[in-house]
Amino acid sequence: MVETSSTLIKMEGVKKVFLTDEVETHALEEIHLEIKKGEYISIAGPSGCGKSTLLSILGLLDSPSDGNYSLNGQPVAKLTISERTRIRNREIGFIFQAFNLIGDLTVYENVELPLTYRGTSAAERKQKVQQSLERVGMAHRLRHYPSQLSGGQQQRVAVARALVGDPLILMADEPTGNLDSKNGEAVMELLRDLHRNGATICMVTHDQRYANFADRTIHLFDGRIVEETREAEVGA
């Protein structure tokens, strides 16, 4: 286990309210959360409790309605859209439940995409894509399209894409949700290996078995953090 050190993410009093047809839906209420570099946390809770909303805000895909959020010491509330895009590209790696690979791009092109947007040179891109795919054991499928891969393989490619830019944190939203148990286990093992090698991971899951892979689990209910457990406590 890698030793955790400085704070990477800090949330204070974060709220998220959705307004639809004059109806207010409070998705998140008074979220206080701190994630340190090298930490592996999971966000657990029943369906509709706000897990994905929290992960979207953590991943700068969405903005909080209220409260403070700092990523790597930088407040992100007032960032422009392009600044948020830049941070997403350089500091965050996403893994989605539905893999979200682009069907018309090959495995190589899918993994290459974040580097392309970053303006990385072609030679460096090639090297990093190769390395990243080797890390997830998919280097032999470079020219394949997502539709030619199994679900487990697609998620491995998605993990490679998330890793390729050396992000500060990996955000995984139900990464096993669309996989059978065998492939699910394999992906979880992959994430655990990445964590052991120093990756900071924030994972949303409703499956307690997979939540247990994390150092720490945040339990959400009706948009609030109701409990926080650590690996040792879970193990006990």
Binding site: S52, T53, S56, G59, L61, D62, I81, S82, T85, R86, R88, N89, R90, F94, F96, Q97, A98, N100, L101, I102, G103, D104, L105, E109, L113, P114, T116, Y117, R118, G119, A122, R161, G165
Partner: protein
């Protein structure tokens, strides 16, 4: 740069992956860009292209608006025409001009290689080529030394086109002699390629020194006559001299020239007094830009070409709207892809760029295909314009400007149809789309509203085009059903120009007499007539007249007339109202007679019988009316089908003196084209060296006279039909999408007991709003544009409600057709399946 290359690669892959979408989008754009390219090519050649001469921007056209006396031979604008002595006076002014040139187009009977062809020539002043800055392709061009003494220099220059077509580009033509209008002429050179004179629509085969006019037009020389106006004059401004400065300088010299004209007029008995004299002497020289040469064709066809260009522009706009709608539908399906890209760090700019690259690829394919299509359309149009419209020199060649236009149209199309869909896709909510586990995103109500607005726009443009097409079609219909005053049924015509083959006046009359008799003897011929002016070809001949017993002489009265044969009216089936027709007894030595038309009778003899009254051709103190009116005929269309009835009189050709040509009309009892060869043979038997030309049915003559109206009606109807099809596709696309999007809602309605008619009404309501919004904008806009174009219409006006009702009906019909499949699909939704539908 690398990412742009990746965008290109990916864009190409996406287009190939969706061949249906790509084919429809590319074809739609190709139709729009192709039609625009074809019309632009025409517009470019007729209205925009400058003369291929040195510094064309320094050329000016000289005009002198105001009354003209004497003989005027013009092609529509009398103010542009000067007599040769006046031109020479103008050309002396070298302070503001680097040269002033004069030209006159004439019919040429050219005998080469033992064959005589009818062609066109241009009599030009000796400084013509030097002033224009045109060089030779071979030999030398004409110089002032070729133009110093009348009749002394029988030399000519071939146009490059004529040299390549008739002499195979043989350099051995130099110093060869050919027979032009019965005069032996020596070829001294060939003009540079691409130069076809100074008037769009005319492509002279030969250029002849002006001082050879007496030989080229033996009927009328006119070079020494101060009041014989037949020359178009252009000049080259000196560097640094403005048109205004040149006008001021010219008008100092012009007044004495006008005074000399009056002096010479007086010597012919035509004296001007008082106000008429002051008005004549107050005329000024006005200079107009001459970079495009003379603008006769531009003046006649400009409004129609611009109208077509506007219509075809609308077609492209409709095509772009259609492709934009397709892209929006595809964008909705690709929302997830772009949400992923955004999550991975793609900026909005990068995503818009990627989508725009796809749009540009699509547009480039459409533009390329459009250029081919445009070239094909232009080929058809060119053939028609040249053969039927009589506008020479128009080609289907794609030059740099047309290529540039096609490229610009392609680029503009890509921007118009690509930018908004790209922007809308790129601004989608990332987290919302990514939360959705379905494979495709569903577009929000704003997206659908926008697509409906696009379709409403298409309907508006279509309404505009349909109203325009209806107005032009109605115009053609009205002209077609015009009473011409003569019958075109089984009537064939041809022309000869005996004077160009060396016939003098008495021989010409004898020839025409003999030909009439021979033609009348052909089997199947029921009547033969002839006239000097061919009907419905836009040719006019006019004179001032003096009427016996008229209270006051209207000195400005100019009446058109023609020289015709015995039996002319019965052959043409022009009704005789009173008196008699000309007979063979009306000879050069018998009493002078004339027949007038109904309009002339109404104008000059409203309250008396004109039969037996005398008139004189010309005006002046010494004119004695000596031509007796022997008949009155119904008004017949003489110059154009469009023309209103105007006073006209006819003289027997035997009493006319100098005939510059004769057009025969032969009425048959069967298809007149069956005797075409007999007609050729009959003339050939009379004189094997006498070429006949313009052999065609009079129905064809009418068609040619209505050429512009037929083209504009045909093209605008095609554009209207194309717009209607594109609008139908647009309506269909949006409705099909709406039905899919509302499947669940429709399922619930059906489950709750809605009948098929209720569901159908739901779909029709959607289209109803789009059509209503479209026609609410389109029809008033059509009315406003029609008001601006009323001069192009005939027998129909901008406020004609029927026109708009027809447009509305067509739009409702295409909307109903476009609705059919989506509404049918909606009524067949299975509620159980629909309620499971995600």
């Amino acid at each position: 740069m690398h990412t742009l290359w990746q965008d290109l690669k990916y864009g190409l892959r996406m287009l190939l992956k969706n061949p249906g979408f790509t084919a429809i989008a590319v074809l739609t754009l190709a139709l729009g860009i192709g039609a625009n390219t074809a019309i632009f090519s025409l517009l470019n050649q007729v209205l925009l292209r400058r003369l291929p001469v040195r510094s064309p921007e320094r050329l000016v056209i000289l005009k002198s608006p105001g009354p003209k006396r004497g003989h005027v031979w013009s092609d529509g604008d009398d103010s542009e025409i000067f007599s040769y002595p006046v031109y020479k006076g103008i050309a002396k002014n070298t302070s503001v001009f680097d040269g002033a040139i004069a030209r006159y187009e004439f019919s040429a009977s050219i005998a080469t290689h033992g064959q005589t062809d009818r062609g066109s020539g241009e009599l030009v002043t000796g400084n013509y080529f030097e002033t224009l800055g045109v060089g030779p392709a071979l030999g030398r061009l004409l110089t002032p030394a070729d133009d110093d003494v009348q009749g002394a220099h029988p030399v000519l220059v071939l146009s490059h086109g004529y040299w390549t077509q008739h002499f195979g580009g043989d350099s051995g033509v130099l110093n060869q002699t050919i027979l032009v209008n019965d005069t032996v002429m020596t070829i001294v050179g060939v003009a540079q390629a691409g130069f076809t004179g100074v008037q769009v629509g005319q492509t002279p085969n030969i250029f002849v020194p002006m001082t050879m006019k007496g030989q080229m037009t033996p009927i009328r020389n006119g070079l020494d006559d101060w009041n014989d106006h037949f020359l178009a004059v252009l000049a080259r401004l000196k560097p640094g001299v403005s048109r205004e400065q040149a006008e001021a300088a010219m008008n100092v010299d012009y007044h004495p020239l006008l005074e000399q004209q009056l002096d010479h007029l007086g010597s012919t008995g035509d004296h001007l007094h008082g106000k008429d004299r002051d008005e004549f002497l107050s005329k000024k020289i006005v200079l107009y830009p001459g970079a495009q040469g003379r603008t006769t064709v531009q003046r006649d066809s400009g409004p129609a070409i611009w109208a077509l260009f506007a219509m075809v522009g609308l077609v492209l706009l409709i095509a772009c709207t259609n492709v934009a709608n397709l892209l929006l539908a595809r964008g909705a399906a690709r929302q997830r892809e772009f949400a992923i890209r955004s999550a991975l760090g793609a900026t909005k700019g990068l995503m818009i760029r990627q989508l725009m690259v796809e749009s540009f690829l699509c547009a480039v394919a459409g533009g390329g295909l459009g250029l081919l299509l445009g070239s094909w359309l232009m080929n058809i149009l060119t053939q028609a314009v040249v053969s039927e419209g009589g506008v020479q020199g128009i080609t289907s060649n794609v030059d740099a400007r047309v290529l540039g236009f096609a490229a610009a149209a392609t680029l503009a199309s890509a921007l118009v149809f690509g930018l908004i869909p790209a922007w809308r896709v790129a601004r989608g909510s990332v987290s919302q789309v990514l939360k959705d586990q379905g494979s495709t995103g569903s577009a929000g109500p704003g997206h659908v509203r926008f697509r409906k607005a696009l379709v409403a726009g298409q309907v508006a443009f279509t309404a505009l085009l349909l109203a325009g097409a209806t107005l032009f079609a109605q115009t053609l219909w009205n002209l077609r059903k015009q009473n011409l005053g003569l019958s075109t049924e089984n009537l064939i015509t041809f022309s000869i120009s005996p004077q160009l083959s060396g016939y003098d006046a008495p021989r010409t009359i004898a020839l025409v007499d003999q030909l009439r008799q021979r033609l009348a003897g052909l089997p199947g011929v029921s009547g033969v007539g002839s006239s000097q002016i061919p009907v419905l070809t836009g040719t006019d001949m006019g004179t001032n007249i003096t009427v016996e017993g008229a209270q006051s002489l209207d000195t400005d009265l100019h009446i058109n007339y023609d020289a015709v044969s015995p039996n002319y009216f019965s052959t043409m089936k022009v009704a005789l109202l009173s008196g008699r027709e000309f007979t063979d007894a009306d000879t050069a030595t018998s009493p002078k007679v004339t027949i007038i038309n109904e309009a002339m009778m109404k104008k000059f003899f409203p309250n008396r019988n004109p039969i037996g009254v005398h008139i004189a051709m010309g005006s002046g103190d010494d004119k004695k009316p000596d031509i007796e009116i022997v008949g009155v005929v119904k008004d017949a269309k003489e110059s154009h089908v469009r023309d209103n009835a105007r006073p006209y009189f006819y003289r027997p050709y035997a009493q006319f003196g100098k005939l510059f040509g004769m057009t025969f009309y032969v009425r048959t009892s069967q298809d007149p084209l069956l005797i075409a060869n007999d007609l050729r043979q009959t003339v050939g038997q009379q004189d094997a060296n006498l070429p006949i030309y313009e052999l065609k049915t009079v129905s064809r003559v009418v068609d040619e006279d209505l050429f512009a109206e037929r083209v504009i009606a045909g093209l605008s109807s095609s554009f209207g039909a194309l717009a209607a099809i594109l609008a139908a596709l647009g309506i269909y696309g949006v409705l099909a999408y709406l039905v899919v999007q509302r499947t669940r809602e429709i399922g619930i309605r059906l489950a709750l007991g809605a009948a098929s008619s209720h569901v159908r009404a739901l779909v029709f309501k959607e289209v109803g709003w789009m059509v209503l919004a479209g026609v609410a904008v389109g029809l008033p806009a059509a009315y406003a544009l029609a008001r601006l174009s009323e001069s192009l219409f005939y027998g129909v006006h901008a406020g004609d409600v029927t026109v708009y009702l027809i447009s509305l009906t067509v739009i409702v019909m295409i909307a109903a057709m476009a609705c059919y499949v989506p509404s049918r699909r909606a009524t067949r939704i299975d509620p159980i399946v629909a309620l499971r539908h995600e």
